[in-house]
Symmetry: C3
Subunit: 281 residues, 3 copies
C-alpha cells in the first residue's frame, strides 16, 4: 500500500484500517529494536507491549552506553515518569544522537506540570525535536502553555477534546506530531487533526497504559518514519482495539491488562478492519 | 455514617463493615492523589492497587520535585524496600512537608532489620512522625527493639500475633498507628488492639502485596485522616476480602494477583458486609 | 536420592526427572533466601518466580547493605539489564562477599555486547567467579569473544546451538557452568554438554523470562551447590515445563506469564516425570 498516496487526501475508515494494518504487519515483520528510557513503573508493561506487537524492546538508560548502543536502534522512546536529575543527561544525549542518525524518537511528558524541575526538563526535551509527543490533556496543555499546576499527578484533569488548541500550538511550535490521549485520542501535526476513537475507559485504571502506547507509537514510527501522523494514529487505534477485544472477556483492570496484551499479540486483519475508527476532526 | 460516634465504643462486625464500606465509597468518590516513594519491585502492583481502589497514584521520588508536588497530594506512602542513600533525603523531605501541611503519611519499613543502614534509615523516618506504620512481624519487632538480624530478607520469620507487644510499644513511642500483617493483621494505637482476619495465605506468594496494602492504607487514611486506626484496619480487611474473592477462582499466585485487583475494583457492599472480620483482640 | 552417584554416569531422562524433582522439593522445603541485584524491568517477574518456586527473594542492591545482608543469603543473582555505573560496585562487593562465604552466585550478562561499558562490566563480573553464567546465544558469544556488536539489544540474534563452542570456552576460561537459553537450552561445564528441551517459543514474548530463570537457577544452586550443572539444567527444564503447562491454557503472552507462574507454584511430580527432557548433546 502506498501511504504517501493516501496522505494527499483525507483517508476514510477503510483507508485507515489498511494503513494501520500495513504498519502492524511491517512491525511484526521487521521487529525493530526500540530503546526505551522510561519510568520504573512502566517498564514491565512497556516491554511486554512492544514484544506482543512484534518489536524488540531494550531498556538501556545509562549515558555511558548511549554512544555505542543508540545508533543501532530504530526508534527511541523517552518517558519522564519517575524523572531524576541523573537520568536527564542520558535522555538528552540519546535524543540528540538518534536525531543526528535520522531516526525517530517519541516523548512522553508524564505529569509535565507537576513541578518546575519536571516542566523545565520536558521543555528542554521538546527542544530536542521529538518526532512525536504523546500525553494526556493536562500534560499537553501544561507543555503548550509552559505552565505549572495544570496536572493533578499523572492522571488528567482535562478531556482530550479540550486540548486540541494546545496540541495544535505545541505541534506548530515544536514541529512534532502531538497526540492527546483520552476518551477520543487526538493526533495533530499542527494543521490536520484526526481522532482515534478506539479503546475502553477501563484502560485508564491500569497503570502505565499511556506509557505503553507511547512506546507502541515509537515502534510504529520506527517502521513508518515518513508518515508519523498516520503511524501515531494507527498505534493509538491498534492499542485501543486490543483493549476493546480484551474488555470482551475482562472482569476488571488486571484481567483487562492481561487480555489487552494477548489481543495485541494475536490481532488479525478482520478485527482491525471491523473495529478501527479514525476520523478527521 | 458518623465514624466518631462509633469510635467511642467497640465496633462490632457490622459497624466495621459499615466503616470500611463508607471509607471505600469516599475513596472512590474523591479519588485522592497519593504520592508513593517506594521500591522498584512494588511500583506496578502498588499503582494498580491504588487505581483499582479508586485513588490516583503518583510515583514521584526526586527531591527536586517535593516542594512543588507534595503539597498537592492527599497522602504519602514511603517504602524502603530497595533503599539507597540517594533516595533517603527525598523521603525525609516529603515526610516533613506533608506533616507540616497536616496531611497523613504511612511508612512501610521493608526488611527493617536487614542492615544497619536500613534500620537507621527506618528509625529516622519513624522520628518524622508517620501516621501509620505497617510491616510484617519481623519488621515491627526490629523497629520496636531497634535491633538488627530479626528479619530474614523481606519475608517474616515471626507470626503477627507474636508482635503485639512490639507493635504496642512502637505505637506508644512513635505516636503512629502500627499495623502488623500476618495470618491475622494486627492494628494498634498503643492502647486498643484490633485484628483484621481477612485474606488468604497465598497472598504472601505474590511479591509486593504487603507494599500494596500499605499504599491502600495511605489512600484510606487520606479520606479518613482523623480515624487512622479505623482506616488502617478497614484497608487491611478490604484488601483481604479482595484476596478471598480472587482466591475463589485463582489457580495459583499469578492468577490470584490478577483476580485480587479485579475484585478490589468491583468490590460491592454485599461482599464487604458478608465477609469482613475485624475484632477487638 | 544421591546426586553424586548419578553424576558419575550420564543420567537418562528418568534420572534427570528425579534430580530435578528432588532439587525442587528441597527448594520448597528450605525456602532459601536469594538476593537479587537485578534490572528494573525484571524485578516483579523475578520475585514472583522465586516465590512461586518456594524461595524467598530479596531485592537489595545498595553497597551500604551488602556487608550486613549478603552473608545471610543462600545464593546471589546478579543481572546487568539496566546497568548504571553506581550499581556496579555493589554487584562486585556482593559477588566477592558471597564467594568468600562459600555460597554460590549466578550472573546474567544481559545484552553483554551492547556497549563497551557493559561488556567491560560483564567481564569484570565473570572475573569474580560466578558459579553459573546464563545468557542467550548472542550474550554468551559476546562474553566468550569479549567483543562488541554481537548482540542486538536484549534479544538474541543467534540460535543457542550456535553458541556451544563459545559456551564451552567461556566455561573453561571462567570455571563457571555456562547456560545458553534458546529453542534448546544448553548447559556446559566446559566438558560435558547437556540440552534442556523444555519450554515454548512464546516465553520469549514475555519480558524478563530469561532474567527470571536465571534467578530460579540461583535458587536451585542454593540448595544443590555442589552439583551446579545438574541444578542449572533442572531449573531450566522446570521453568520450561511450567511454560508448557501454562501454554496449554494461554491465549497469548500475558496469560502465558500468569499461567507459567501458577504452574510453577503447583508443579507436581507427575508433570516433571512425564515432561522433562534433558539429554546429553
Amino acid at each position: 500500500m502506498e501511504l504517501e498516496a493516501k496522505r494527499n487526501h483525507d483517508p476514510d475508515l477503510n483507508d485507515w484500517a489498511s494503513i494501520a494494518w500495513t504498519i502492524l504487519c511491517n512491525l511484526r515483520d521487521q521487529s525493530p529494536l526500540v530503546q526505551c528510557i522510561t519510568n520504573y513503573v512502566s517498564m514491565d508493561l512497556m516491554a511486554n507491549t512492544l514484544l506482543s506487537a512484534g518489536a524488540s524492546p531494550a531498556m538501556i538508560h545509562s549515558i555511558e552506553e548511549i554512544p555505542d548502543f543508540t545508533p543501532h536502534v530504530r526508534a527511541l522512546c523517552i518517558n519522564v515518569g519517575t524523572l531524576s536529575p541523573n537520568w536527564l543527561p542520558a535522555m538528552k544525549a540519546a535524543a540528540e544522537l538518534i536525531t543526528k542518525s535520522g531516526k525517530p524518537w517519541v516523548l512522553d511528558p508524564v505529569a509535565a506540570g507537576a513541578s518546575g524541575f519536571r516542566l523545565k526538563a520536558c521543555l528542554e526535551l521538546v527542544g530536542l525535536k521529538p518526532n512525536v509527543i504523546r500525553g494526556n490533556a493536562s500534560e499537553i496543555i501544561a507543555l503548550s502553555k509552559a505552565s505549572l499546576g495544570v496536572t493533578k499527578g499523572v492522571d488528567s484533569s482535562h478531556e482530550s477534546i479540550d486540548a486540541i488548541d494546545a496540541a495544535k500550538s505545541l505541534a506548530q511550535a515544536s514541529g512534532a506530531i502531538v497526540a492527546v490521549s483520552g476518551a477520543v485520542d487526538i493526533v495533530t501535526d499542527g494543521n490536520r487533526v484526526v481522532g482515534a476513537h478506539n479503546g475502553v475507559p477501563m484502560m485508564q485504571k491500569i497503570t502505565a497504559t499511556g506509557c505503553a502506547v507511547t512506546a507502541l507509537i515509537a515502534a510504529f514510527v520506527a517502521v513508518e518514519p515518513s508518515n508519523a501522523l498516520e503511524a501515531t494514529a494507527s498505534a493509538l487505534s491498534i492499542f485501543g482495539i486490543a483493549g476493546e477485544l480484551g474488555m470482551d472477556i475482562a472482569k476488571g483492570p488486571a484481567s483487562l491488562r492481561t487480555h489487552l496484551i494477548d489481543s495485541l499479540h494475536g490481532l488479525d486483519q478482520a478485527a482491525v478492519f471491523s473495529r478501527i475508527k479514525i476520523t478527521l476532526l
